[in-house]
Structures are given as structure tokens and as C-alpha cells.
């Protein structure tokens, strides 16, 4: 059984005031997400990511097509007990404290008072806002609200969790914590479905990704496959060398940029052998600072597919 399945899921919005006309936000999306995997839904703004999540949460209704989660029809109460959801830019009742909010939500899942208290305390500590539990949410920063959002999404120990831009508003520390939380969820067997335009997070976390553009699915695959590209080049940072020395390697270096006195960023073509160059540089007194292969990233993948889709949409005449 698939954790999440959509079949030709389509959503049209009516736009215009007097003469309403449909605008397709999601176009026949067919997806399958395996149980226990972390699945990333990627795409630029307006691609249909949030629409997909809202459809799966039944905050909006599909124009056509269908979807099921854990084999159950979306929107059923039995299903809602088994899933969690973090909306994009979450907002909560600002007159409540974080503890009160989570206690309130826990009561909707039918937890008994003692269990509720224990669960809320544990979650607030887990997302790193245990010290602010009694602070009104109106005093919370965007990042802290995002942490509250993550906590409420996993309050019921869900089997499937939907996260809409989970890293949005988080500082580097918060992003690291959120990544750890998502990986921890997977370790417990939870299926994580998240949308993002922060590709490094998808690269670091996802088993599989799908790319949406203009409401259409343009690519889908395992991240490992997508990232298994040849090395396109090398980036070498070296120190304690002078420009005269660099001219000796002119043919091997495609670009040299001085970033500080005697410190250079050298770009080498993919076919070059950096170890030989490196040996010559160090023999001449230079020091290696870093060496990185330049590979096609998910960002390149993303841009390539979205651009191809935009070209197709413009048609051959343009």
C-alpha cells in the first residue's frame, strides 16, 4: 500500500470578478509516495506545491481526480487521526501560549489530561522552545512560530506528515534542528511529504523528489539518481602563490580569481586532473585551502526542467 496516492488530481480556481474564468493551479497530478520515505515536492513559487498539500488536507476541493492517504479517502476523521500537517507560514492563536496551543490541539485528538501534559512538554523540548512554553504566541518570532508549527504537526505521532515549506523562517540552527527532526521521523517509520524551494534541504533529506512547474509534474525520481551526474569541473582554493606561477598552469585552469593577497579560486574543467596540478602548486610553495568537485545539483536540475516547461508553454512560434 502506498502512503500517499494521487490520480489525475486537478484544481481550477475561478478568477475575475464579473466574468469568471478558470485558472489551472494543478494539472492532472499523479503521484505515489511509498510508506516510510521522505518525499520532496519542489518547484518555484506558483508551481502548485501548496495547492497539492491543501488538496491532500482537504482545505480545498479538487476540480477532478482523486487522492488517498494510507488507503483512506482524504478528509476522513479516521485518517486525520493518523496524519500531521504544517501549513506554509503558520499562524496560531496569538492570545495562547505555546503550551496552551499544543494542549488545546492535543485535546482534539482525545488525549487524556496526564498524557496531554507529558506529550506537550516533550514536544516543546524536542523543537527547542521548552523555555518559552508560557510565553504568548504574539511574542514569538517567525522562526519560533515555525517550531511551534512543527510541534503541532507531530503532536499525534502521525504515520504521514505533510510539511509545507518547513524550513521557511528558520535560522541555520533551526534548519539543522528541523532536518534532524525529519530524519528522526523517518527513523520511526513516518512518511514525510514536504514542499520546498530550498533545494539544499531536499538534497540533504529526500529519498525521492517531484518537480512541479505551472501546476504540472515535470520530473520525478530518486535524489540519488538525479544527483548521479558526472563531475562538470573542479573548484580549487589555494593560498601563498603569485600570478607568475599561475601563468605556468594557464592551459589547465579555465578561470582564476584572486580573492585576497596570494589567495586564488581556480576553476578547472571536468577532464582536468586536479591532483597533478595540486602537486605542482604545493611543490612551488602554494598551500591547498579546499578542493571541491562541481557537479550538477538539484538546483540545475530544477532550473533545467522548469525552463524546459516554460519553453514548451511558450510554443515554437516564440
Amino acid at each position: 500500500m502506498l502512503a500517499i496516492q494521487t490520480e489525475d488530481l486537478t484544481k481550477d480556481y475561478a478568477i475575475g470578478f464579473w466574468r469568471k474564468r478558470p485558472r489551472r493551479a494543478l494539472d492532472r497530478l499523479t503521484l505515489g509516495v511509498e510508506c516510510g520515505e521522505i518525499f520532496g515536492l519542489l518547484g518555484p513559487n506558483g508551481a502548485g506545491k501548496t495547492t497539492t498539500l491543501k488538496l491532500l488536507m482537504q482545505l480545498i476541493y479538487p476540480t477532478s481526480g482523486s487522492a488517498s492517504i494510507l488507503g483512506l479517502p482524504i478528509g476522513s476523521l479516521a485518517l486525520k487521526r493518523r496524519v500531521g500537517y504544517l501549513p506554509e507560514h503558520p499562524y496560531f492563536y496569538d492570545y495562547l501560549t505555546a503550551e496552551e496551543l499544543l494542549t488545546y490541539f492535543a485535546s482534539l485528538f482525545g488525549y487524556a489530561a496526564a498524557e496531554r501534559r507529558a506529550r506537550v512538554t516533550q514536544l516543546l523540548d524536542q523543537v527547542g522552545i521548552g523555555a518559552e512554553r508560557r510565553l504568548a504566541l504574539r511574542k514569538f518570532s517567525k522562526g519560533m512560530l515555525q517550531r511551534v508549527g512543527l510541534a503541532q504537526a507531530i503532536l499525534n505521532d502521525p504515520e504521514v506528515v505533510f510539511l509545507d515549506e518547513p524550513m521557511s523562517g528558520l535560522d541555520p540552527l533551526g534548519r539543522r534542528d528541523a532536518r534532524a527532526l525529519i530524519l528522526e521521523l523517518r527513523k520511526r517509520g513516518c512518511t514525510v511529504f514536504f514542499s520546498s524551494h530550498i533545494l539544499s534541504d531536499a538534497e540533504a533529506l529526500c529519498d525521492r523528489v517531484a518537480v512541479l512547474a505551472r501546476g504540472r509534474l515535470v520530473a520525478e525520481g530518486r535524489v540519488a539518481e538525479i544527483l548521479a551526474f558526472d563531475v562538470k569541473g573542479w573548484e580549487l582554493i589555494v593560498a601563498d602563490i603569485d600570478r607568475a606561477l599561475l601563468t605556468r598552469f594557464g592551459a589547465q585552469v579555465s578561470k582564476a580569481t584572486e580573492i585576497a593577497h596570494g589567495r586564488y579560486v581556480l576553476e578547472l574543467p571536468g577532464a582536468a586532473a586536479p591532483d597533478r596540478l595540486l602537486a605542482e602548486l604545493t611543490a612551488a610553495g602554494g598551500k591547498l585551502v579546499s578542493l571541491n568537485p562541481i557537479r550538477e545539483t538539484l538546483e540545475d536540475f530544477f532550473v533545467k526542467h522548469v525552463s524546459a516547461d516554460a519553453d514548451a508553454a511558450r510554443g515554437p512560434a516564440s
Partner: protein, 268 residues
């Protein structure tokens, strides 16, 4: 049921923290201030005027609570997107509407109860401090228990207005919802005139339309028994029962309509 109670209690908590209950202080100050002034100006009529003023103030303050919280209750959840997290929890949209309504009615009930206590306290103080001859000459006892009957009908009337405000707030902005709700409240005071509209117009179509509107729009005039209570006039149990039943049936239909609209709505 527990889920409904949790959401309803949260609505009540929101009202308390939004300082809605502050209006009660204003009510008490108004009542005590007015009773002092009237005690200086009138002879023998002050008890009646205080009762009339107290019941009218209860009705007006309650109306403001019903409309101003009712119109924002659902709208605010949707506009601020707090509804996204809430509807992902194991509740239905119908539960949401019913619970929000219950929470608002609870707020209203607490307000009216405190206002009733304040009114009785002022009347009690005036009875103790006033000359006994004047108290004996009144149409109705100063601490008339029928004041509670009048407040009870005000409560049902305001519960109906709350349902109307909630209905509009499921699909409309607060300004429009407030305009519609106040409009219906005013129309509701004169609705009975529509029933026999054929006596003042010749057109059968207009008379038919007026009759249709009479049944469609709320008829709020029967809920107002202030004058009868203040002047010690009789009120039959059948009348009260009929009026309360009408209120409940109307509320059920309005909430059904609100739930229907809300259940089909997309939260873009």
C-alpha cells in the same frame, strides 16, 4: 462532544483575553451612574426606569457582543490561516461551525448573567436605600424574578443574532457581515408588519413577496417583553414557549445554512 467543548471553550478564552468582558464594567458603571442620577430627578418612577434602562442596556451590550464577535469569529480564522492547522485535526467543518457558535453563545451567556446580577444588585441597593412607601406603590416587586424571563428572551434573541452573524462570517468580510446582521436585526424588529402587507398595498405580487419575506427573515419583536415585565403586565407561559421554540428553530436553520456554505468552501 469533547472536541466541540474544547473548541467552544477556546472561543470563550479568546473573548476573555480579547477583553470582551470589559464591557461589563462599562455596563455596571452606566447602570449605577444612571440610578444615582435618576434618584435625584424622578419621584417614584426611578425603579421602573432603572429596570427599563437595565434591560435595554443588557440587550444593546449583548447585541454588540453577538455581532462584533460573531462576524469575526470564522473570518479571522480563515484570514489569519489558523484554520489550516485546526481543520487538519480530527474535526469536521460542521463540528467547527457548531463549536464556534457554542463558544460564542457561552460568552454571551456569561455576559448576560453578570449583567443580570449587576441589575439586581442596583435594584436591591435602591430598595434598601429608598423610602418604603414608594416601593409598596410599584406595579411589580423591585427584585422581580420576571426580569430573568426578560433577560432569558433577550438571550434567545441574541443567540439568534449570533447565528446570523456567524452565517454571514462563513463567506463574507466583517464589514459586510456587520452591515447584513445589523440590517436583519432592525428588519427583525418590524418584521410582523410584513405579514399583513396586503392591507396597505393593492398588488398581490407585492403582498406575496412581503409574506415570503416575513417567513424568511427573523421576527425579533416577540422577544422584547421589557415593557410587560417593567409594568407588571401578565405574560403567558405559552407565549414564552412559542417564542423560545421559534428562536431555536430559526437558529437551527441558520446554523445548517452556515454549515452547508462552510463545508463547500475552498480555503485559498
Amino acid at each position: 462532544m469533547k472536541v466541540l467543548a474544547s473548541i467552544a471553550l477556546n472561543v470563550f478564552r479568546e473573548s476573555v483575553r480579547d477583553k470582551v468582558l470589559y464591557n461589563l464594567v462599562l455596563f455596571a458603571v452606566l447602570l449605577i451612574g444612571a440610578s444615582y442620577l435618576l434618584g435625584q430627578l424622578t419621584a417614584g418612577q426611578d425603579m421602573k426606569i432603572i429596570k427599563d434602562l437595565g434591560l435595554s442596556a443588557t440587550s444593546i451590550f449583548g447585541l454588540f457582543i453577538a455581532v462584533f464577535i460573531g462576524i469575526g469569529l470564522v473570518w479571522k480564522e480563515v484570514e489569519r490561516r489558523s484554520i489550516y492547522s485546526l481543520l487538519a485535526k480530527p474535526i469536521t467543518r460542521v463540528d467547527f461551525i457548531l463549536a464556534k457558535y457554542a463558544g460564542l453563545v457561552l460568552t454571551l451567556l456569561v455576559n448576560l448573567a453578570v449583567m443580570a446580577v449587576a441589575l439586581y444588585a442596583v435594584l436591591g441597593a435602591m430598595t434598601l436605600l429608598g423610602p418604603p412607601s414608594l416601593v409598596a406603590a410599584l406595579d411589580a416587586p423591585p427584585l422581580d424574578p420576571r426580569l430573568l424571563l426578560a433577560i432569558g428572551l433577550i438571550f434567545v434573541e441574541l443567540a439568534l443574532v449570533t447565528a446570523v452573524a456567524l452565517f454571514f462570517s462563513t463567506f463574507s468580510s466583517p464589514i459586510l457581515s456587520a452591515a447584513f446582521t445589523f440590517g436583519l436585526y432592525i428588519v427583525g424588529q418590524f418584521n410582523a408588519d410584513l405579514k399583513h402587507f396586503e392591507q396597505v398595498v393593492d398588488s398581490p405580487a407585492a403582498a406575496w413577496l412581503a409574506r415570503a419575506l416575513y417567513y424568511l427573515l427573523p421576527n425579533l419583536a416577540p422577544f422584547d417583553i421589557k415593557a410587560l415585565v417593567v409594568h407588571g403586565q401578565p405574560i403567558s407561559a405559552g407565549y414564552v414557549l412559542m417564542t423560545v421554540s421559534y428562536g431555536i428553530v430559526y437558529i437551527v436553520f441558520v446554523l445548517l445554512a452556515a454549515a452547508l456554505v462552510f463545508a463547500r468552501r475552498d480555503f485559498k
